[in-house]
């Protein structure tokens, strides 16, 4: 039975990886992407943030579809159903919060580059962006706690 709970954890962890890793880490460069001229974007950071959010939404939709398809089998593990329903109930709010945080970050970065705001504002906006992910992190923590409480299933 060892693979089963791991199997249940992986989709959430992977989604968290897509959604959280690209935005929660600091101190890395973002200069590896360039934009072809004449496109819809002029700022590669905005492009990347938009992509992270839309990818997260797309993956969440796919994962919820997988859960719905296999709901009967997965009912053996109510916790994964709880996670799925929490994601379903909150996904739009999380995405909306992420867009608001993205807009705030880009505005703060632009103000800093223009010399009209401090770096503290950028850092705070960045933290807010990462904070939009806290619910997802909490869900992962819940699943990890379940795993620890049921070692026979892990």
């Amino acid at each position: 039975m060892k693979p089963k709970l791991k199997f249940l954890l992986v989709p959430v962890l992977v989604w968290l990886g897509f959604f959280a890793l690209p935005v929660a880490q600091t101190g890395c460069t973002s200069g590896s992407v360039t934009l072809a001229p004449g496109g819809a974007y002029t700022d590669p950071v905005r492009y990347q943030l938009d992509k992270v959010i839309s990818d997260a939404d797309g993956l969440a939709t796919a994962l919820l579809g997988w859960y719905d398809t296999n709901r009967a089998f997965l009912s053996k593990w109510p916790e994964i159903g709880n996670v799925a329903e929490t994601v379903r109930a909150n996904e739009n709010k999380w995405i909306k919060d992420a867009y608001a945080a993205e807009d705030a970050y880009l505005a703060a970065a632009a103000a800093y580059k223009a010399g009209t705001a401090s770096l503290d504002g950028v850092t705070a906006a960045q933290a807010r962006f990462a904070g939009t992910l806290s619910l997802l992190k909490n869900l992962t923590t819940q699943l990890a706690a379940y795993q620890a409480a049921h070692p026979h299933a892990s």
């Binding site: 992977v14 973002s30 072809a36 990818d55 296999n70 909306k96 850092t123």
Partner: protein, 93 residues
């Protein structure tokens, strides 16, 4: 004195995160085990997620120059998603 724009904390990275995502996918692949009993539809679902959803996303993060068509696709997706969740349109750059 102009600000040191190089010190602006970047919210995203690409290469390092893509590698971590690949690691995550590798972890999934080890779980797609035919010996895992009767859950064939679940396994099929995971295989489909990997092939149809996850791998294209990971590959897209390896793209170094974003062409015009890809930019337009992302802009269209973003506009639709913002509208769906009730977020305001992206402010002008």
């Amino acid at each position: 004195m102009p600000p040191d724009t190089a010190s602006v904390p970047p919210p995203v990275t690409t290469a390092d995160q893509a590698l971590q995502l690949i690691d995550s996918l590798s972890a999934i692949a080890t779980l797609v085990n035919p010996a895992w009993g009767a859950a064939a539809t679940v396994l099929d679902g995971i295989a489909t997620l990997i092939e149809k959803e996850l791998m294209p996303i990971v590959q897209s993060y390896r793209q170094k120059e974003i062409d015009v068509a890809t930019q337009q696709l992302e802009a269209t997706k973003t506009a639709a998603l913002r509208a769906r969740v009730g977020a305001p349109p992206a402010p002008a750059a």
